[in-house]
């Protein structure tokens, strides 16, 4: 048997191998051009689905952006809303009680807020988020009012308490306090 034929088909062929080649040769790869079947049609359903998915994503992103922006705007507008509506915190305190912060909030009648403000003032979003952490003037005013009210209430209750005790008992308590 000539092995050269098996290697590069250069030597004398073996008839048995030739027979095998003829039998198995029909099963080998035969290059030919691709022909698409004529009855096959591209379906459009999948294209619509992908378009719908893209549209849904865009709508969702727009909605999320709108909600986020409106939430941030509400937070930013909170202090100025109080200023534009002074009736929300009716206060007629004594002149010495009123702090400069209160004066500012009551005097400013029409502040530039929200979208109008963004037209005129360059706003740093990061900075605005930081300012929301500081208490708003409305909250500070409410705190001051609350403290004033509680101070007065406490003072008057204690006054009533002192008067019910009377001067004799009061002195007795004071003396006990000194001795103790």
């Amino acid at each position: 048997m000539n092995e050269e034929y098996l290697w590069d088909k250069s030597g004398e062929p073996d008839p048995e191998i030739q027979q095998l080649e003829q039998i198995l040769g029909t099963l080998g790869y035969q290059p030919k051009t691709f022909e698409a079947p004529t009855n096959l049609r591209p379906t459009r359903r999948y294209r619509y689905l992908s378009l719908a998915a893209i549209a849904a994503t865009l709508v969702f992103a727009l909605l999320a952006g709108f909600v986020w922006r409106s939430l941030h705007r509400k937070e930013a507008d909170l202090p100025t809303t109080a200023a534009s509506n002074p009736k929300a915190i009716p206060l007629t305190t004594t002149p010495e009680v009123v702090t400069p912060v209160e004066k500012q909030t009551v005097v400013s009648s029409k502040p530039i807020t929200g979208r109008r403000r963004s037209q005129f003032v360059a706003v740093n979003a990061r900075r605005r988020t930081n300012t929301t952490r500081t208490p708003s003037p409305e909250a500070l005013l409410a705190k001051e009012q609350l403290t004033t009210a509680l101070r007065l209430a406490s003072e008057k209750i204690n006054l009533a308490h002192r008067k019910t005790l009377g001067p004799a008992q009061l002195n007795q308590i004071r003396n006990q306090h000194k001795l103790g």
């Binding site: 915190i89 009716p90 206060l91 007629t92 305190t93 004594t94 009680v97 208490p135 708003s136 409305e138 909250a139 500070l140 409410a142 705190k143 009012q145 609350l146 403290t147 004033t148 009210a149 509680l150 101070r151 007065l152 209430a153 406490s154 003072e155 008057k156 209750i157 204690n158 006054l159 009533a160 308490h161 002192r162 008067k163 019910t164 005790l165 009061l170 308590i173 004071r174 306090h177």
Partner: protein
């Protein structure tokens, strides 16, 4: 026929609703003090505080929990529905009339209100403390302090601890006169 029968039923339901609303309104521990506003013109100093539940909650957020006094106030105001104060300080005596006070006292004659303290003094004036009760709980407080040159009305709506409120004296910039429950001593004092 059926529609005719329905009319008295509707009237009955409406009457029931009106009665319920009136009863609820009658039990509301908020008192009206707007009629005292005319005194502001005569007064040399006026304090007018109107804080509703929303503002109380807003203010409570500002109180610092790390500060002992502020934490105490925050705890005290939790659950309150409103605090209303009108205080007038006059240059001269007898600037307000008894009618001004009577209109407040009339509101406090309702069943839920009871007078806790009434101190009368011709020289120093009167102090009255009223509490509104629902069962065993206080749901409202009114203090009327009528001094010769000063008139103060405080109305607190909601559950309030009187003892804690009285303790606030000394913590809010008012000197403690040593009356009332003793404060726990600090380490330095011991």
């Amino acid at each position: 026929m059926k529609s005719l029968l329905k009319i008295p039923e509707t009237l009955l339901v409406a009457a029931l609703l009106v009665t319920t609303a009136l009863t609820v309104h009658a039990q509301d521990p908020r008192i009206q003090m707007a009629h005292l506003d005319h005194l502001a013109a005569k007064a040399s100093d006026t304090v007018d505080v109107n804080i509703d539940e929303r503002l109380i909650q807003l203010a409570a957020k500002v109180f610092n929990d790390k500060d002992e006094d502020e934490a105490q106030i925050k705890k005290l105001v939790a659950g309150l529905k409103g605090i209303y104060v009108k205080s007038f300080e006059f240059e001269n005596e007898n600037e307000y009339s008894t009618a001004d006070l009577d209109s407040i006292r009339t509101q406090l004659t309702q069943a839920s209100w009871s007078r806790l303290v009434n101190v009368t003094s011709k020289k120093e004036g009167n102090v009255e403390v009223y509490v509104s009760m629902t069962g065993a709980d206080i749901n409202g407080l009114t203090v009327i302090s009528a001094e010769p040159k000063e008139l103060t009305v405080v109305n607190i709506v909601g559950p309030i601890d009187l003892q804690k409120l009285a303790k606030l004296e000394g913590t809010l910039g008012i000197p403690d006169l040593g009356v009332g429950p003793a404060k726990p001593k600090t380490k330095n004092e011991q």
